[in-house]
Amino acid sequence: MDEPLLRTLTPTVIGILVRRGACFATAEDAVQDALIEALRVWPDDPPRDPKGWLVTVAWRKFLDAARADTSRRHREALVGGEPVPGPGEEADDTLQLYFLCAHPSLTPASAVALTLRAVGGLTTRQIAQAYLVPEATMAQRISRAKRTVSSVRFGQPGDVATVLRVLYLVFNEGYSGDVDLAAEAIRLTRRLAARTRHEEVAGLLALMLLHHARRPARTGPGGRLVPLAEQDRGLWDTRLIREGVDVLQAALARDRLGEFQAQAAIAALHADARTAEETDWVQIVEWYDELVRLTGNPVARLNRAVAVGEADGPRAGLAALAELDPSLPRHTAAAAYLRERDGDLATAARLYAEAARSAQNLAERDHLTRQAARLNTGSR
């Protein structure tokens, strides 16, 4: 059964229903119902015209819902006749759906859930599994999100930046489930990139591709985190790297720099080094300077300090770190690393252990504990 096709068709079919007069919330529910039916029926009885099948079934679901609606007037207006496909039917509404599902009135979590369902064509169950919450909770999160955007006119121009933030979250904070959220984020960003020439969309796509390329090398046995410097670069996906670099170069050539392009440029410089030692840290620091200039983001400053430590030596890195708020996430971990590089192993071991206690994820905590243990047992 062609599940990817089904998922690709989802936003198109929602757009068709909206053009036939359904409101977004009802259309989206009807298409979700049709999607679930397709997942049940298609394996044994694949349709010859998948899109036509989905439109027909979704429209029927929509009419059923309208009939069940208590508003009689509403019903009569809609059931008056099966509208024939109009001239606007083939127009691509997918871009509008991206904007609507990432509307600034939504919380990030709601925007993520709604985007995955309406644009990504995932079922509520799949999204719930991916984010480790009960299906009923996810269903409510999505219907609330739809109520929040119910007054937004479909087709209203939106802001690409909000869409990019949502896609970045899907990629970066994705949990593991039945659905590969990183791959899903890439698919959705690719699709967006095909519909807009915005440089930052290309920048984000490049960033995702370059990081995704490293995935096979990022974890070792038992899911343990392998730091960039220790990764087996032979495991990196060169095809994805090549694509990421191409996409990035085309975007940079248009000379409208943004934070995702700058981040992707840093990832590209890492990808370019055959060994960790060959990394061009001087250029990486320059890109961090750009990133800090563009965003002022404290996490970018922290990463810059680590890069300075590589480019100009650990003392310079520690000096850069000293200018930053020590309560920043991973500040202590960065200090531990730079102390070790500077030869102060006792302080480094103490800081690694301290950083492990405040780590926000298990893999990082285990990694930092292992660093502390390595220094503690080695120095005994």
Partner: protein, 135 residues
């Protein structure tokens, strides 16, 4: 989103403001309390923030491995154990502030005299999956 565990203690938390043991409440007060907890969970499901809620028996057993081919060793319960968990609720929220807000609402569940218990709950963030992009 971040998941938090809201822990309710039989023992080990500071004393609640309305600190009357449950067995001294009226049946109506007990029902009102249970209803409040149910309504709270239902409301969180409605906001898309509910993950799980469980209650634990106060009686537990300590168990440990005792070597190959030997049955596990059990011990306890220990009356002196400082901390005793009564149950928990897991929530999935947008911010730390929201987690505190919800914990405070849960702590306001009615107890003796129908007054809020003002019970101390312990909020603990879950460790997450590592983010993909870290440099």
């Amino acid at each position: 989103m971040a998941k938090y565990l809201l822990l309710k203690h039989y023992r080990g938390a500071p004393a609640a403001v309305n600190d009357v043991p449950m067995d001294q409440w009226t049946p109506e007060e007990l029902s009102a309390h249970v209803q409040y907890m149910r309504d709270f969970a239902a409301r969180l499901e409605g906001t898309g923030e509910f993950v799980d809620s469980q209650a634990l028996s106060p009686e537990g057993t300590f168990v440990r491995y005792d070597g190959e081919g030997r049955p596990p060793v059990t011990d306890g319960p220990f009356a002196e154990t400082k901390d005793l968990i009564a149950g928990w609720m897991v929530i999935d929220v947008d911010s730390h502030e929201r987690a505190l807000e919800l914990a405070a609402e849960l702590s306001a569940a009615p107890g003796a005299g129908g007054e809020p218990i003002h019970e101390w709950l312990e909020g603990r963030p879950f460790l997450t999956e590592p983010p993909t992009i870290t440099e």
